[in-house]
């Protein structure tokens, strides 16, 4: 059996090769976002992220130091300094936007207002003039420079710790947690009790209820938007977390009951009956026996519900409407950024990555349970 692939080396290579191609294709888009979030905005717009590891040649416009830093040497007015914050090598440069590559490194160029400038390959410049330099801002220089690959945490720093951005994103991050935690715990609790009743208690109408749960599994939640928005507004929870929790609880309920009931039905009958004979009430049986035994199913649904509520956009947009932005969640925040800062890739990429870090962490840590839950729900 195992050697069916191994028999023919060509086939084995084809299998490895095509799987590798598939994996790369699937990872590539996400990798792009991750790499971009560590690049400066100049670099992101200067070259594709897949070239991030290579040295980059860019045309840049840089400004020398302002005239008020000039010194006088032997009767000459001089401004000296270096153009670059990070090392780079100049291959060509110019003093006018119409001829940005007139001069080679080390050349001396005349300035329009008089005087000369000399620029070395490493960015060291020296302005010289017999009269004083005037004006408020430094002279512009146009350089074509090759800079080594560069990665930075600046985007994350400014997104997370700079007050102008971080207030919005920090609040959104917190809000997402406030939405997600109860919206994960409450449905599990409620569904576990219901699943126990449907699995192990005998009462009229049980089969009908199970059929109802299965039917509700596929009802699109879009139907719920207007009726429930009206209802929430009438009751007065139209603009808060409580409404979102309730909505997520309601929408997650059929899947939760379905998964948990399927699991609980499979638990050994003896244990439950023995406990009953020993005088345990249903509540005790549930809390002390069923809940601990159902841990795998509970965990898998918890992961599902967590991912689903964390990643949700529609429910949050409809049931968490608030003009002040105090209750904005991450997904909504990013959609807004897409609208207003659509071109600022360093901001978008960083914000998007901050928002997918938590679900990705949950996913990789608890993947085992997630897969188990998927299998319990779909394949018998």
């Amino acid at each position: 059996m195992e050697n069916i692939v191994g028999q023919k080396p060509a086939l084995r290579w084809a299998v490895h090769g095509s799987l590798l191609a598939l994996v790369l294709l699937w990872v590539f888009p996400t990798a792009g976002l991750l790499v971009s979030s560590f690049r400066t905005s100049d670099q992101i717009s200067g070259s594709g992220w897949w070239q991030a590891m290579l040295p980059q040649e860019q045309n840049r416009t840089l400004r020398a130091k302002a005239p008020d830093t000039q010194t006088v040497e032997n009767g000459l007015h001089v401004i000296e300094g270096n153009l670059f914050e990070t090392p780079a090598t100049i291959t060509a440069w110019g003093v006018s936007s119409r001829a940005i590559d007139d001069f080679a490194p080390g050349d001396t160029a005349p300035l329009r207002k008089g005087g000369t400038v000399t620029l070395a390959a490493n960015g060291d410049y020296r302005f010289e003039h017999t009269e004083a330099f005037t004006g408020k801002r430094g002279q512009r220089l146009f350089v074509t420079a090759t800079s080594p690959p560069e990665f930075t945490f600046e985007n994350y720093e400014s997104m997370l710790f700079d007050e102008r951005n971080s207030e919005g994103i920090g609040q959104a991050f917190l809000n997402t947690f406030i939405v997600t935690v109860p919206a994960t715990v409450i449905p599990i609790l409620i569904a576990a009790f219901a699943a126990y009743a449907l699995a192990w208690m005998d009462f009229p109408g049980r089969a009908l209820l199970i059929a109802l749960v299965v039917a509700l599994l596929v009802v699109p939640l879009q139907l719920a938007l207007i009726p429930l928005l009206k209802l929430h507004n009438t009751v007065g929870i139209g603009k808060g977390f409580v409404g979102v929790w309730l909505a997520h609880t309601g929408f997650g309920m059929p899947l939760a009951i379905y998964l948990l009931r399927n699991y609980m039905v499979g638990l050994p009958r003896d244990i439950i009956e023995n406990a009953r004979v020993d005088g345990a009430t249903d509540f005790q049986v549930f809390v002390k026996i069923i809940l601990p035994l159902s841990f795998p199913a509970l965990a898998s649904f918890a992961i599902f519900q967590f991912l689903w509520t964390w990643n949700d956009l529609l429910v949050a947009m409809v049931f968490l409407i608030d003009a002040t932005g105090d209750t904005t969640v991450m997904t909504k925040h990013i959609v807004e950024l897409l609208g207003t800062r659509g071109g600022n890739w360093e901001i978008l990429a960083t914000a998007a990555f901050v928002s997918i870090v938590v679900p990705l962490a949950v996913f990789f840590l608890l993947q085992k349970y997630l897969v188990r839950g998927l299998l319990a729900g779909s394949v018998k």
Binding site: M1, V5, V15, H16, S18, L19, L22, V23, W26, V27, G32, L33, S47, G48, W50, V181, P182, L189, A191, A194, L198, M201, A207, I210, A211, V213, V214, A215, L216, V218, P220, L221, Q222, L223, L225, I226, P227, L228, L246, T249, G250, M253, D282, F283, L307, N311, L313, L314, V318, I334, L338, W345, A349, S355, I356, P359, V362, V371, L374, S378
Partner: protein, 335 residues
């Protein structure tokens, strides 16, 4: 109050209230209403056992009834009426539906939705099957599976940002930072294309995102099904001289047909509800509208609840066959 503390308090309040209900209700039932002692102990225990299932089920039934059953009925009602000033409501029969079918945008959304329904489940299932089969007998198969499965954890909005970068276009002469355009130009394309604004084809670029997300799901389930195939049938086929392709298409695939159908329908349901991707990427412009986004537009931009509800009912009608099939197969299973 600091928002973090406020958040913690609300969480404690929400979860605590729920725990308190089950604990206190059971306590009340067993000790106050029907105490299992005294003269009527036996009768009380029986009564308590009659009530208890409903006590356990009540919150779940209330949640489902309020958030899923009631909206179906109410949406149906709203779709047959018109909202008048002052919260009044007038029954207008099928007028909303008539208006809806007269709109070009609706047909565009319906056509696109049908395209999505044809393409996304098919490709996601096919890629999933391919990935499952390839990773099954390879030593690094589990790692490969994790990586292909990963997009499942990413929100549709996050995926939209990821793919916007892929589809990004810069004017000719500038360095392309979108992979697709860089590739297109390298392969001899004459000018960078703004992929998302090319009518008809742009829908396919949006579908690629959902296929990318859903393939992992299909792969996980199909890979379990492949493992469940009895070894004897495979061995018999090998002994009979089947080549790997025959083995796969003639022996394995027929045996997991049932699972393929389940995967297909599950992805179909996801496709019908797809909203976030279109909303974040194009917002239905350039002929990419889909039903869910059309409905959202009607409800919250045009403020036309009648037509919006009619759109929701159309989505419900499209899932109804799956709903019926689900219930029937669940009943068959229980017997």
């Amino acid at each position: 109050m600091h928002p973090a503390i406020q958040g913690l308090l609300t969480i404690a309040f929400g979860v605590g209230g729920c725990v308190a209900y089950f604990y206190l209700a059971n306590l009340a039932l067993d000790h106050v209403i029907c105490p299992a002692r005294g003269r009527h102990a036996g009768r009380n225990i029986n009564r308590a056992n009659l009530v208890r299932p409903w006590l356990f089920l009540l919150p779940a039934l209330a949640a489902m009834g309020l958030y899923l059953v009631y909206p179906v009925i109410e949406t149906l009602r709203l779709s047959l009426g018109e909202r008048l000033p002052g919260n009044a409501f007038e029954f207008v029969g099928l007028a909303n539906y008539a208006q809806m079918v007269s709109e070009a945008k609706f047909w565009e959304a319906l056509t696109n939705n049908l395209l999505w329904l044809l393409i996304v489940p098919a490709f996601a299932t096919a890629f999933g099957l391919l990935a499952a089969q390839l990773s099954d007998r390879v030593r690094w198969g589990n790692l490969a599976k994790s990586l292909i499965f990963m997009p499942m954890a990413i929100s549709f909005v996050g995926a939209a940002v990821i793919w916007k970068l892929v589809y990004d276009a810069r004017p000719l002469g500038q360095e392309q930072i979108g992979v697709l355009n860089a590739l297109y130009l390298a392969l001899g394309g004459d000018a960078p294309a703004t992929w998302l604004t090319i009518p008809f084809w742009n829908s396919f670029f949006l579908m690629a995102i959902l296929i990318w997300i859903q393939t992992g799901f299909a792969m996980v389930i199909l890979s379990a099904a492949l493992r469940g195939i009895p070894e004897e049938t495979v061995e018999a086929a090998i002994v009979d001289g089947a080549n790997p392709f025959q083995l796969f298409f003639r022996i394995k695939v027929p045996q997991i047909k049932g699972t393929i159908v389940v995967v297909w329908t599950t992805i179909t349901i996801v496709v019908l509800k797809v909203f976030d991707i279109v909303f974040a990427m194009t917002n239905g412009q350039w002929e990419t509208q889909v039903l869910a986004n059309y409905m959202y537009d009607k409800l919250f931009r045009a403020n036309d609840w009648g037509v919006g509800s009619a759109g929701a009912i159309v989505i419900l009608l499209l899932v109804t066959p799956i709903l019926v099939w689900n219930v029937l197969s669940a009943r068959k299973e229980m017997r």
